[in-house]
Symmetry: C2
């Protein structure tokens, strides 16, 4: 028996035989060719057959996984008809009189390196697409069979270095019980697909393909990120029980889909979801989300080479508001800069982007971008229950200035006969420490706060949460963070305003009892965390949690808080 540690990318436990998805040997040698015309048509032939295959996979994905997953293969089909990729390959074949495999390899690796060097998640995913498409076309050129997971006809756990989008799209849930890969993380394609398919998955093990042989029994625990190879009968039994317990828990969660979130002693809080695109609303409703607590609008601006138009934005906001059917939607205005770059804005390189010219700072300076977004929101406001919040506010004057611009645009629209809702709540993110310290001053100006704990923790501890060397300082349970959260909640309630939280902490099982006791009104998290959180809260007493408030706030370290919460709220 052997154990591997990886990243739990999709919850659940699977036990089955290992099926190694062998990377086909696609080693390409440079060969000189005489008839380049014949070689170019051989290349075209391979492109055509790849397109055929992708059309079939896209169909399968649409049926099994829904539109946005199928869209990935539309992107692949676009790559296959992109002259920017194909022409240089053909030119290379003719000018250098080299074989098509080599010309393709050279051209595509140039694109992959370029995209991967861009410090931007979206462009890295484009690199994965190009690598995936190149593999498929090269397979046809070399006459090498590309493994086709959809052909699997017995219960298996897939073992691979990484799963390309087309691999994961072909996974047939009936037989593929789970998978484990060497590389990848929670946000890579394979992980996102596993969660949609609800197939347990552990990624980033670094050693799956090196250790697991074909046919050997494997256990994949996607909750804790463990992979057990050739387990003893006893271990298999233990994990079967865990699997059943997980299924029971999932069933328990499912019962609460349409229930409100109420503590044991009758206190109601709102569980909302964080979303990035209109397509995410489906997941919110399926998981019993009572609202959207954070709509990150920057996705509308990313992965393109110019700003989205007012109408494009209007359509997106309108769709989300309509799909949420009157449930509240809190939209965060543009938060780019920091680690979210928009190449087409050509913002200057900064030594410390997280402490730089981003979000509301940029919007108050380059107002046309800001006003376009606000107009689109105001126009969409009549299609649902819209709330607007500004990110990265540091001073009271910044909030006042941003709100004044909103009201100015509203006035212009109303004058021009445009219908605009009259009860749009306007609030702000509390993610900069100064706003928590004098929350009483901000509470007079806002309709609500939403605490962005990811950044609030980062600035309060002066530690970049993306920097592994200082990640030990990213401490959500540090008493300093809990005291700042308390300041914000008390200040808001004193002015009759509500407080939500949209950082990862809001869905964290250790934080939830504390936050309930501190009086948080709304918890906004990733959709899949909502039902577990609702179940947890239903077993907690708000009064009991509140009774521990002073004790927790007077502790001096994270370790003390965690130990106390685990002990008290077992």
């Amino acid at each position: 028996m052997q154990e591997l540690k990886g990243i739990g990318a999709s919850a659940g436990i699977a036990i089955a035989k290992a099926y190694r998805l062998e990377e086909p040997d696609l080693t390409v040698e440079k060969k000189n060719i005489s008839d380049s015309e014949a070689e170019v048509s051989r290349f075209d032939e391979a492109i055509a057959r790849s397109k055929e295959e992708l059309e079939k996979i896209k169909e399968h994905a649409l049926k099994e996984l829904g539109q946005d997953k199928a869209d990935i293969f539309s992107a692949h089909l676009l790559v296959l008809s992109d002259p920017e990729l194909l022409n240089p390959v053909k030119e290379k074949i003719s000018t250098d009189s080299v074989n098509a495999e080599f010309a393709l390899k050279e051209t595509s690796s140039m694109f992959v390196t370029m995209f991967e060097s861009m410090d931007n998640e979206y462009m890295k995913e484009r690199a994965a697409d190009i690598r995936d498409v190149t593999k498929r076309v090269t397979g046809h050129l070399l006459g090498v069979e590309i493994p086709n997971p959809s052909m699997i006809s017995e219960e298996v756990i897939i073992v691979a270095e990484d799963l390309t989008p087309s691999d994961t799209a072909q996974l047939n849930r009936e037989f593929v019980k789970g998978f484990t890969t060497d590389i990848g993380g929670r946000t890579s394609h394979s992980a996102i697909m596993a969660r949609s398919l609800e197939i347990p998955a552990v990624v980033g093990t670094k050693a799956a393909t090196g250790t697991i042989q074909n046919g050997v029994t494997v256990i994949v625990d996607g909750i804790n990120g463990d992979v057990i190879i050739d387990p003893s009968a006893e271990t298999v039994k233990e994990y079967e029980e865990k699997h059943n317990a997980y299924l029971a828990q999932k069933a328990e969660w499912a019962k609460l889909v349409n229930e409100p979130t109420v503590s044991k002693d009758g206190h109601h809080v709102e569980l909302a979801a964080n979303i990035g695109t209109p397509d995410d609303v489906k997941g919110v409703l399926e998981n019993g989300g009572e609202a959207v607590g954070l709509y990150r609008t920057e996705f509308l601006y990313m992965g393109r080479d110019q700003l989205p138009t007012e109408d494009e934005q209007f359509d997106a906001y309108k769709t989300v508001l309509e799909r949420m059917e009157g449930k509240s939607v809190v939209v965060r205005t543009l938060d780019i800069g920091g680690d979210k770059e928009l190449p087409y804005l050509q913002l200057p390189k900064e030594m410390n982007p997280f402490l730089g010219y981003r979000a509301i700072r940029l919007c108050l300076e380059e107002q046309e971008i800001f006003r376009t977004q606000l107009r689109a929101l105001l126009r969409a406001s009549t299609y649902g229950n819209l709330k607007i919040m500004f990110p990265m506010i540091a001073t009271v004057n910044e909030f006042k200035e941003a709100k004044a611009i909103l009201l100015e645009e509203k006035e212009k629209l109303v004058k021009a006969g445009q219908a605009v809702s009259d009860d749009i709540e306007v609030g702000m993110m509390v993610e900069i420490p100064s706003t928590a310290v004098i929350a009483d001053q901000f509470a007079k100006e806002v309709d609500f706060f939403s605490i962005g704990t990811n950044d609030l923790i980062q600035y309060t501890m002066a530690a970049d949460r993306m920097n592994e060397r200082v990640s030990y300082l990213y401490q959500p349970y540090n008493p300093a963070i809990l005291r700042l959260i308390t300041l914000v909640i008390e200040a808001a309630h004193k002015e009759g305003k509500w407080v939500g939280m949209c950082g990862e902490m809001a869905g964290d099982e250790i934080a939830i009892p504390i936050l309930l006791g501190l009086g948080l009104d709304e918890f906004s998290m990733s959709a899949t965390s909502i039902l577990p959180a609702r179940t947890q809260i239903s077993k907690l007493s708000k009064q009991e949690a509140e009774s521990f408030k002073e004790k927790i706030l007077s502790m001096s370290t994270t370790e003390e808080v965690v130990a106390f919460v685990k002990e008290t709220f077992k």
Copy 2:
């Protein structure tokens, strides 16, 4: 009459005729030469004559400005005998058979670009030295007279693009009443020299040489950074009065050199100085400093290619402690990373260095560097009144761990028979917001706090203080900052501990009344700010300042606080 705006680099007002320090025309053309041997000896000849001149300037600087200013010319003399510069020039003359001027120009500009590309203040100064030396040698090669400010024999104000170290070293205070340059800032050579010579100076005007003609009357106001060209009689009179008022004020300040710092109602606080090298102690004592509130030890590590030895550090700490003659010296342990890089440590490039692996984070990880510094400090402790503080502490555990390492090293030294003082106070910098928010927890562990407001403001407002685009958020008077400072002072005093401040805010005339009212015990600032601060405090009543505490802390913006303080403490 015309006005220019620049940076007030050295206080005081000067009125005199303009003396343009013309940059000699040193344009160099590439010429092919036949006899390279003769050309090399022509080059050697020019080097020799430059050395002679520099020896004379060094002597003059030693007499007029003291050792550390003279050291600059030792550095220049070193450059003139540095084979790494000279050999490539001679090789270029022989291999490319080009004239010495061209060979020198090519080689030195390569070095200048390399040094200037290093994001490090010290290396940029090295670039200025090489440019200065190259100018001198090229002058000799071209037979062009380099202007020699020491030849000036009437009262003048020097007007130049920039003043090289050798220019400023030759300034004869008897005639040179002040100067103004196009480029440079508060920390450039010329500014530092002007302050030592106490010659009024305005740098960074961008337009001095472009606007001011030789012989025209010029007023230089080094306090406000203003330059007035061809002033009316009335303006001259106005500035003469300002000049006399400034001299009177300086005389008033001078009376308090050896006086304690006491408010109008008898409350004593300690005014200390921030220093970077042992040579700075002279300025501390000359300006009536009661202690060193911050000894930045990173200068010992910079501008070299390996770590300083334990003995090198011991010598530096011992010298400072001895020169301070029993007055307290608060030494900050190593604070590198962020904008202070040590190339020889090869630390990984970080996306946000100010939120990264720096200071105590690095020292707790790479303990040998930390332990070496602590041993040097402990050994020096018997030579004066040493206090030690750790920078960039974020959690209580970090402080406990750092203090445990100090006590471990102390135990080892004592066991080995080394004398170590028994009353070394151990404290910490409060510059990370978390430590201010739960200052009551830290106050149980430390002997004192020193509030590092430069970084505290930066993290609390999430705005990089070196980034011009967000500099408006660097707000020392923001009520959030003042409330954090209050938390720290109240927490410390409750535990019977003292609180100092070593950010720029401590010497700021708007902040001083507020800080006095909040109960700050020690104000540590640049030496030249001490006497003005002592004078200001002597006219303030602590009780009166304290009575405004609640009012100020309940304000919502910086602007409100500044207006109130200006109005109340006129």
